[in-house]
């Protein structure tokens, strides 16, 4: 842990704090259908034209069922659109590397993944996807899934703070306004900043660079059909020769031997099946290109996290400098942080907004400190082999980011539902890797995904005031609204379904041959790879213990289902809760009202989040990272 590292952490928290109010105020204007922004003169006409094209009356209000229906219709159609783009990319333009279409299960997984703001990547971006697929098929969802998340959060806050109304706003207006006024304008400036740091933005075919020092590798020989040639030699075994009389023949007093093909238990002739290898001289470095900057900007701002390249934000073309890294981390939290201010403003209780923000910040700092400490401490097994202790754990980390910025990024990306990575979480120390995993299992409410973080946290607020109400024996209230059986049922539904899905799929995969076949690591770490995958899919995060080979039909489909559950089983109960809350009257505060500001509330909220997370997931975590940590201390390898 170096001194500069602490300065960087302070700088990060400082910048985030300063951004919260201005972003919150801007959100206030964007999320108000009649709100004016300085972009109005340019964007206003395009906005009105879009409503006309859509056949939407921007002044019409929707109740929670209509709002949900619009949201589901849009998610369904845009998901199908991306599936089609991925399956047809060989017919579409901007495919200079001539990539073939994605397989059905991979295209399903990818389309669902981006629609649900997960951006789990079962594919290798630069080796699978055309520029068109990236720029249109995927980037569309980087914008829209983020906008949908913000829209749901806004609908919930409207429901919480409105007085005896039936409606939550208009989904189409929210969707368009969030994109046109918030996400697209910021992304233009942001993408240009990224290019100034070295992020590429072009449509060129991949560059061939002449290596200073060519090298030779061995590759499998392929026949004309592209199939690997194997030795295919019959394995012979010596057996006693049987004479015409049916008895073993003798030669010089000993049984005469002959060579016969070896047969296996089924009587089949055994062949050696070794691939034939040939030398290949590598004289060039093929450099992947593409419109990366425009995608990298929105992937962070919208907490999507799907990288253009396989290595995501660890790739120097997506995240070239420590400065670009700093801005990317801030941008993951920026909108989510601003939304807490929006909550404070709309509820007429700014201190409540800051109280929620403080709870998030404290949870963030706890995660960061644990992860940073674990990674800076390094791996005792490797240190015993001669690795310098002061370097920390550098496996799967980039020199320009070092241990601290890798740990901070990992915490930020999993506190939010971003899932972009600038280091490989799979290679973190056991406890360092536990932090991102547990962050996702807490429901990503620590700032969280854009919108998703706030509505997730409000579920915990409802639960928290309910628990507080039980303790003092009064009907719980939140912002003057009675929290009754329906709200608590919806909150519990959202939480329990997620837990059931995460634990259920993990357990299934852990005892199935298809689940174990994809592992890159054995022992407890292998279990953690599976646990991480389903936690990430259900939390709509998208980061991975990437050693897991998830591009198989089983994984692609089960993870896709987990992502759908994680998004829509959360969203629908929340909108139902918003609808129910909107109808209620606001009761004036009395001296029995539980205050939603101040130390007690923040403690209660943090306690609720940690308690629910720990009750649900500690047994699983004990089998994975916790046991691995102790085995690591005893230099047990797998």
């Amino acid at each position: 842990m170096k001194t500069f590292d602490a300065v960087q952490l302070a700088l990060f928290v400082g910048v985030l704090t300063l951004l919260t109010k201005p972003i919150g105020l801007f959100l206030l204007r964007v999320l108000d259908p009649r709100g004016k922004t300085w972009l109005g003169p340019v964007v206003g006409p395009i906005e009105r034209l879009t409503y006309r094209v859509l056949g939407v009356d921007p002044t019409a209000q929707q109740n929670w069922k209509e709002y949900s229906l619009s949201l589901l219709a849009f998610s369904l159609v845009s998901c199908a659109f991306t599936y089609a783009v991925l399956r047809l990319q060989h017919y579409l333009p901007l495919n200079p590397q001539a990539f073939p279409p994605m397989t059905e299960h991979l295209a399903f997984n990818t389309a669902v993944s981006f629609t649900t703001n997960t951006n789990w990547q079962s594919y290798v971006g630069e080796a699978t996807l055309s520029y068109f697929s990236q720029m249109v098929g995927l980037t569309l969802h980087n914008f829209t899934s983020a906008a949908v998340g913000i829209a749901i959060a806004a609908a919930l806050v409207r429901g919480l703070t409105a007085h005896s109304i039936q409606t939550l706003g208009n989904f189409w207006v929210d969707l368009i306004r969030i994109n046109y006024y918030l996400l697209v304008p910021i992304s233009v400036v942001y993408a240009l900043f990224l290019v100034s740091q070295g992020v590429v933005q072009n449509f060129s075919p991949y560059t061939h660079a002449k290596l200073t020092e060519p090298f030779t590798i061995q590759i499998p020989l392929l026949d004309t059909n592209g199939v690997a040639v194997t030795t295919n030699i019959v394995v012979m075994a010596q057996t006693p020769r049987i004479g015409t009389d049916g008895k073993p023949e003798l030669k010089g007093g000993k049984p005469a031997l002959e060579d016969v093909p070896l047969r296996d238990a089924k009587g089949e002739i055994v062949h050696t099946n070794l691939p034939v290898m040939v030398d290949q001289k590598i004289e060039e470095q093929v450099i992947a290109q593409g419109p990366v900057a425009s995608q990298a900007a929105i992937k962070m701002l919208g907490t999507n996290g799907g990288g253009f390249m396989n290595a995501n934000a660890a790739h120097p073309f997506e995240n070239p400098t420590p400065l670009s890294n700093f801005v990317q981390m801030v941008s993951i939290f920026a909108i989510a942080s601003g939304l807490t201010y929006y909550l404070g403003r709309l509820s007429g209780n700014q201190a409540h907004g800051w109280a929620v923000w403080s709870a998030m910040l404290i949870l963030f700092l706890i995660g960061t400190l644990v992860c940073w400490w674990a990674e800076a401490r390094g791996n005792p097994i490797h240190q015993a082999l001669g690795v310098a202790v002061d370097g920390g754990n550098m496996e799967g980390k980039e020199v320009r980011f070092g241990v601290f910025n890798s740990a901070l990024f990992a915490t930020v990306t999993t506190d939010a539902s971003c899932g972009a990575v600038n280091s490989m979480h799979d290679s973190f120390t056991a406890l360092g890797g536990l932090v991102p995993l547990f962050n996702m299992q807490l429901g990503e409410v620590v700032f969280g995904g854009v919108g998703a973080g706030l509505y997730g946290m409000l579920v915990f607020v409802v639960l928290g005031v309910f628990i507080a109400g039980l303790m003092v024996g009064r009907t719980p209230e939140y912002l003057g609204k009675k929290i009754q059986a329906f709200e608590v049922k919806m909150a519990m539904l959202a939480l329990l379904i997620l837990t059931l899905s995460t634990l259920g799929f993990t357990a299934w995969a852990s005892v199935s041959s298809w689940g174990l076949a994809g592992l890159n690591n054995s022992g407890p770490h292998g279990f953690t790879e599976i646990f991480y995958a389903y936690s990430s899919a259900n939390a709509n995060n998208g980061s991975a213990f990437a050693g897991l080979t998830a591009n198989t039909p089983w994984y692609n489909i089960t993870l896709g289902i987990a992502m759908l559950i994680g998004r829509f089983w959360m969203v629908i109960p929340i909108l139902a809760m918003a609808g129910s809350l909107a109808r209620k009257r606001i009761a004036p505060p009395s001296n029995g009202t539980f205050p939603v500001t101040g130390f007690t509330f923040v403690t209660l909220l943090i306690g609720t989040v940690l308690l629910v997370g720990a009750l649900n997931y500690l047994p699983g975590l004990a089998l994975g990272p916790v046991v691995e940590h102790f085995l690591n201390g005893q230099t047990q390898l797998f």
Partner: protein
């Protein structure tokens, strides 16, 4: 039912409209501005030699094994520094495979750079990076390789030191990130130095 059809129609049109704005207009504007304002960076910060041939990118590492060059970190991208196949090793803390690889790398590193068998080796020198394309090595790693490179090239250590200092990047603004030595730029600069008689040219395995 009528309501659902109406919503689906709006959804199709919204998908189309947003595709045009977010996936056509937006990347095109960024492309135009990027190519005008930062053409070199927008195209990959490519490094060309005197003959105009592209030799790599300022941002991407390459593999070096000869003792005349500074060596990059181990890489798990394809067959090593494959810039069309970025990847880390994704091996965990209790992986036997990773421990074996690190033990081998430590032994190689000590042998190549004449270190004693109990001298600690910089962490970045024996571990694979996240992208497999890390262009940097730590200054500590560079300083341990410096003597070997200077000897192999018949240069004074101070000459090599100067170049290492020249290609040491970061931290940004003095605080952000960790410092790193750009290996590709450094090695190309070494090759450009006035050709001095070589003591030996044999490469090490």
């Amino acid at each position: 039912m009528k309501e659902i059809v109406k919503e689906l129609r709006s959804a199709v049109l919204a998908t189309a409209a947003l595709s045009i704005v977010c996936c056509g207009l937006y990347p095109a504007v960024v492309y135009g501005l990027a190519q005008t304002l930062f053409p070199r960076k927008a195209n990959g910060s490519l490094i060309s030699d005197a003959s105009g041939a592209v030799r790599g990118s300022h941002l991407l590492g390459q593999s070096f094994t000869s003792e005349r060059y500074f060596h990059s970190r181990p890489s798990s991208a394809g067959n090593g520094y494959d810039a069309a196949n970025s990847s880390g090793s994704n091996l965990g803390p209790t992986s036997q495979k990773l421990a074996d690889a690190i033990a081998q790398n430590v032994a190689d590193y000590r042998a190549q750079n004449g270190l004693s068998t109990n001298q600690p080796v910089p962490a970045d020198a024996v571990t694979a990076s996240a992208s497999g394309l890390d262009p940097h090595i730590s200054p500590a790693n560079a300083s341990l390789q410096l003597g070997r490179v200077a000897r192999a090239r018949g240069l004074k250590p101070t000459q090599v030191e100067e170049l290492v200092a020249k290609f040491t990047e970061g931290p940004d603004w003095g605080v952000l990130g960790d410092p790193g030595v750009n290996v590709v730029e450094l090695n190309l600069a070494l090759d450009r130095l006035a050709k001095t008689p070589l003591i030996k040219t044999a490469s090490i395995p």
